[in-house]
Structures are given as C-alpha cells and as structure tokens.
Amino acid sequence: MKGFTVTTNKKWFHTSTIVCGLAIMVLIVYGQAQAWDLKEAAKPYKGDTIRTIGEALPPLEALDKIKTKFTELTGIKVVVEQYAHEEAVDKVMLDLNARTGRYDFIIQPHRELGRFAENKHVVPLERFMNDPKLKDPDFHPEKELYVNLWKEISWYAGKPYGFPFTAITMFLWYRVDLVNDPKERAGFKAKFGYDLKAPQNWKEYKDMAQWFTRPDKGFYGTAIQGKRHVALWYEWLNFLYSFGGDVLEADKGYKYGPIIINSPEGIASLDYYKGLLKYSPSDTLNYDWDGAMAAMQQARIFECIMWNDATYAVEDPKQSTVAGRMGFGMVPQGKGGKVGQVEGWTYLIPRYSKHKEAAYLFIQWALKYPNQLEQHLNGGASPRPDVYAHPHVKKLTYSQAAMDTNSAALPKATFPESPQMTDIIVLALSDALAGKKSSKEALDWAALEIHKLLGDKAPLKYPVK
C-alpha cells in the first residue's frame, strides 16, 4: 500500500479539510444553539421580580395572561401595571426623572422615544443583543419583525433602543351589514349613482357618512375624535397624510425639517375633517378614542377611523352590539395615496432598571412566535408578519386591514420636542373644530408656534402673514 502523503492525495486532502471545517462550524453553531437555553440563561435571575407598565388595552391584557409561562420557565416573576394611556406615560416620565428604578422595562408610545433617548433615560439594546449569555440564537429581529416598523418605533438616531410591543395603526371601521343591506344599497345608488361598498376614497367616505346620518333615529354617518385630547391629533394625521400633507418635511422621526403643516394639503385635510362634524353625533367634540369606539360598539355610527388594537373589543360580542357585523379596510385614499399612521408601543429598558438582563430575557421571550401568536389571538397587535399568516389569525376580520396598513404606515416625529408639538397641534385642531378659527388660521398659528418651539431646526415653508 502506498503511503498517505499530502502531495499524493492532494485532492482528497483538500476535500476532507473543507468537509471537516464545515462539520466543525456546523457543530459549533449547532452546539451554541443547543447550549443556549432560556432556563439556563435566566438562572442568575431566578427569584427576581421584574415590573413593567403600559396602557390598559387588549394587547397588554393579553401579555399579562401569558406572563406566567415565563415565570414557570425561568422563576422570574413579572408584574404588569396597566393604566390609561396618559397615566401610563406620566408615571413613566416621573419614574425616569426620579431615577427610582421602579420599572425594569417599560412599554411606551414611540412618540416619547426621543425624550427618553436624548435624556439617556433608556439604554440601547446592542449590549444585550450581542451578549451570548442573553441572546437567543433562534431570535432574529431583523428577519422576524416588521423591520420598518421596528426601526420607526424602537430605534432612535440609528440605534436600537427597544423592540416593538405592538404594531398599531389606524384604519377604516365600517358596518358591513349595512353595506350589504339591499334596501340601503338601492337607496344609496339612487342618490349617489354608484354602489354602496367599503369607502375607497374621501368622497365616498363623506357620501356614506351623509347617507347614513339619521339624527331622528340616533344614528350617524361617522364620529370624529374631536375632544381636546391627543386622540384628535392621531386621528387627523390619517387625513393629513392621505391628503398628501405632513407636519414637517423629514424622512425620519428623529429628524427636524421645514414646517409644512399649513400647506394647502394640510388646510384641505382640516377643512374636510371639519366637514364631517355635521355627520357626527352632537357631542363628537367630546369624544376621544373611547367615545368614538363606544359609539360604534353601541351601533350608533356607520363608519370611523379607529385603532387596530381596539378592533378586538368591537368584534367581541360581550362588549359590542356590532360584533360580526363589522368590516375593516385601509384609510380611504387621497392625494397622498393609500397610507396610514403608525403608532407602536415599544419595549424599552430604563437606565435605572435593577434587573435589565432579566427584563431583556422577558422581552425576547415575549417576541418569540408562539408567544406572539397567543398574545395576538387574545387581543394583541403583533409586530411579527409570520403571526398574520397563521390560519387562526387570518380568520380575524381585521387582520388584512392591519397588515395592509402596517406596510403602508408613515412615520411621525419622535424628537424630544414632539410631545409639545403635538400639544400645539391638538389645540389648533380643537380651535378649528370649535369654530373659533378657520382651518387656515388654526394651522398657520400651529406652524408659528412649532417654529417658536423648534427654532432654526424647523423653518416655515409656508410663510404666515
């Protein structure tokens, strides 16, 4: 037998080297994957209690339901505090500034991200994401989440500060049973000359609002969220974006840019929005999202623009008289195309958290597919596209509208002054709806006030006389 030498068996030697190398790599990767185990990773934190806070709505209620599984797996207890929207934000703001470290992770609307990040109240996630002891090798956020949504709601100035808790957008709610009613269809067609259907554009939206407004029967075409409340701003943004307008000319939430809120498109959107008042219940100027949702749940309106994390409640027969009679779709189309506005609540870890690692493990665990699926089916609004492909999720009447809007949602400002800017816009809109100012006067005033707030970072694109 000829002796084995590298020179004589060069080809064989090279092949076997490559095969061995690959095998070793596979073994290392597989070994690592096998080696990482949540139970093991959580061992140092066993017995700890981590506390979070968020808005008392179905997504958080759903998280509250599944948290015990995490405790069973890891021995880490999770406390979920649930409050109304503004209370949840205020409590966090006070806690962060007092640096008490009460909350180990927080769930907050992304419009607040700028002031948390700029004031260094929250920590970037890179250090946890790159820590082999904490990183679950099976979790790939860049592949598994809606990446645009993740970057919009949880990133600030190019750094990841969190993961999306929900993918919340606003879309059209309408009464599909009325659309399919032959009597209504015939009457509508006779009056407007086209078929009654889910409104696709703003003309159809208004026509249908007009058709269904029957004050003598206590039934109205629509309801706007006209209370002087942040809900007003959120709702109007859908109209503004769809009409082709915006607040600032900037492509990222953390960037500043010229003020364009008083553009012709902006004014047209507010004029249109005000025009819906006559097709809304008489106290629509005192409705926030809860008021408008209640009007729909009580079968008092035909259509409205509403949040996707509230759809669960309107389709729940225990809470709603119109469950099973609802239709959902994207916000009607305007000059700005088919768009929506995105508002995710995001998981963040405060700098003062006493159990950052345990909090990261929980967040990572909560975003895994089975947990997201369970949370979504119990009222969540998952930021994972694969959840929407599940047959049970597909069956939900609002899934398609949520998916369509998620992929066409436009960003909004997240820089530190954004909540003050929002406050200015809310007041301007409320003044316009109350009839104190015309749409142009109100938006010109808002543009000036925003300019005063942001200074040279946001020049006026449409000068105000």
Binding site: D90, M93, N97, R115, E118, N119, P215, G218, G226, K227, R228, H229, P281, S282, D283, T284, L285, N286, R300, P416, E417, P419, Q420, D423, L427, S430, D431, L433, A434, G435, K436, K437
Partner: protein, 306 residues
C-alpha cells in the same frame, strides 16, 4: 406645687416655642419649602423633556415670556375670572336665598340641610362622571329635557358647544357648592343677636329694610369668609373640567389650573410652569387680602369710632 404653677414655670422657662416646633416644622417643610422651591424654579429652564435644560438660571426670562408672549395664559386667566365671578356670584345668591328660607323654616330644617349637602359630599371625579352622563349629547337625561323644552337646539350638546361649555361648568359648580354657602350663611344667621332685629321691628322697619340694614351688615364677615373660601376654591377648579372637557373645545374651558397642569405635566416644562403656578398663587393672594379686608372692615370702623 399646684398645676397652675407648673404651667407658669413651663411658660416662663420658654418651653412654649418647643411645643410649637412640630407645627412649625410641618409648616416649613410642607408649605414654605415647596413654595420657595417653586419660586426658585421659576428663574430656571428646568424641563424633564428637553435635553440640556437641567435648571440653568434664566433670570426673569420666564416672567417676560409670560407677560409679553403668552396670549394663551391671558386668555386662560380671563376664562378663569369669568368662571370664578359667575360661579361664586351665583352660589352666593342661591346660598343666601336658601339659607334665609331654611332659617325661617323651622320644621324639617335639619332634614333639608342634610339633603342639600349631598352634592358637596361627593367626590369631584364622581361629580364629573355623573354630569358627563347627564349631559351626553345622545342619551343624556338633561340634554333630552333641555331639547324637549326648546332651551337647546337639537344638534347642540352642552359639553361640545364652544358657547355653552363654560356656562355649563358654572352650572355644575353652582350645583355642587351652593349647599356649602347655604350651610355657612345659615350658621351665621343662627348666631346673630336678636336685639337689633327686635329694635328694627319695634321701629316699624319693613322686612326688606330689616334684611338690608340689619341682616346683611351683621352677616358681612360670614359672607366675606364664605366668598373667600369659594373664590379660592373656584380659582383652583380642576377635577370636573379635566374630566368633562379637558379644557376644550379649543380653549373654551382652559382655566388657569388646566393650563398650569398642561405646561407642567404635559410639556414637563417646570421652569415656565412654575411662573404660571406662581401667578395663580399671586392672584389667590390678592383675592385673599381683598376678602380679608372685607372681614375686618367693620371691626376697623368700630375701632376707629371708639
């Protein structure tokens, strides 16, 4: 040694300030301290939301901004003045009327007083929610009857109408606080001496004359006191307005308390917010001194005559 002597010794040895100390500490820590802190903040740029605004000294810049460049503050100030005058004025009129009625209605007085005190005993939040239902534009009972008797247009809702909403708030405040005014004035009426009334009647004064020249002057300190208390309270009104309208529509019900809350706890701008809060304090202080003059006015005249 008798107990009186012990007391004298304790007082003589200067122990009385020692007993005052706990109350003084509480006063300094809970009232003077926060007030001084608030005033000191008003000269800074402290903000919880803006990076870099860590409480840098600004001098009078915040005060200048308030005086020259904040029309919303002044609008809010005017709204508050309207609210306070209308609410407290009506509460006084109704309170005095009811107190006189109850004073002369000996039988069942205690029962009726207990009954009319009920609104005052309710939590402001509960009052807000109750009126929210009563005034709901679609199914509110009051709205329904107001429309039925044509006092309100069919498509109008009291809490959504820019013209009606402030006066609706006044009505709710009058409903809640008239019983308090009634109670205090009734107590005052009961404590008045009989002699001046008997003398006036013997002199042949008509009931109106007795009321005008005897009852009202004798009640003046009580009236001034109750108006002072109600004035301060109405000036700080927050809960009901916050629950019912949030300050809207527009700025229709943006009272100074709501505005102060908005600057401090919506915008987290504590530097400027402290100036606004300080102004509220200043107005209340002026109001207190005016009413205090009202209370001590008669005593001053008497002392002058003596």
């Amino acid at each position: 040694m008798s107990s009186n002597n012990w007391k004298r010794i304790l007082l003589d040895k200067g122990t009385s300030p020692l007993f005052l100390t706990p109350a003084l500490i509480i006063f300094l820590v809970l009232l003077v301290g926060p007030f001084v802190y608030m005033v000191s903040l008003s000269f800074t740029d402290l903000s919880f939301s803006q990076p870099g605004r860590d409480g840098n000294f600004l001098g009078f810049a915040n005060y200048r901004k308030l005086m020259r460049d904040d029309p919303i503050f002044w609008e809010s100030f005017l709204t508050t003045i309207k609210f306070v005058f209308a609410a407290v004025g009506l509460e006084f009129l109704f309170g005095l009327g009811l107190a006189l009625l109850l004073f002369h209605l000996i039988r069942g007085q205690r029962f009726i007083v207990t009954l009319i005190l009920m609104p005052m005993m309710m939590a402001p939040v509960a009052i807000g929610l109750m009126w929210k239902l009563l005034l709901n534009g679609e199914f509110g009972m009051l709205t329904y009857y107001l429309r039925k008797i044509a006092l309100m247009a069919p498509q109008t809702a009291p809490l959504s109408s820019y013209k009606l909403v402030l006066w609706t708030m006044v009505v709710i405040d009058v409903w809640e606080w008239t019983p308090f005014v009634t109670l205090v004035i009734l107590a005052g009426l009961m404590s008045l001496p009989r002699e001046p009334f008997e003398a006036a009647i013997m002199d042949g004064a008509s009931p109106l004359r007795v009321f005008w020249d005897v009852t009202l002057p004798l009640l003046r300190p009580i009236i001034a006191l109750v108006m002072l208390l109600r004035g301060i309270d109405a000036f700080k009104e927050f809960d009901k307005v916050f629950i019912l309208t949030g300050g809207g529509p527009g700025t229709a019900t943006e009272l100074l308390s709501i505005y102060t809350w908005r600057i401090n706890f919506r915008n987290w701008d504590f530097g400027y917010g402290s100036v606004v809060a300080f102004m509220v304090y200043l107005v209340v202080l002026i109001m207190c001194s005016v009413f205090y003059k009202g209370i001590t006015w008669k005593r001053g005249i008497e002392e002058l005559r003596a």
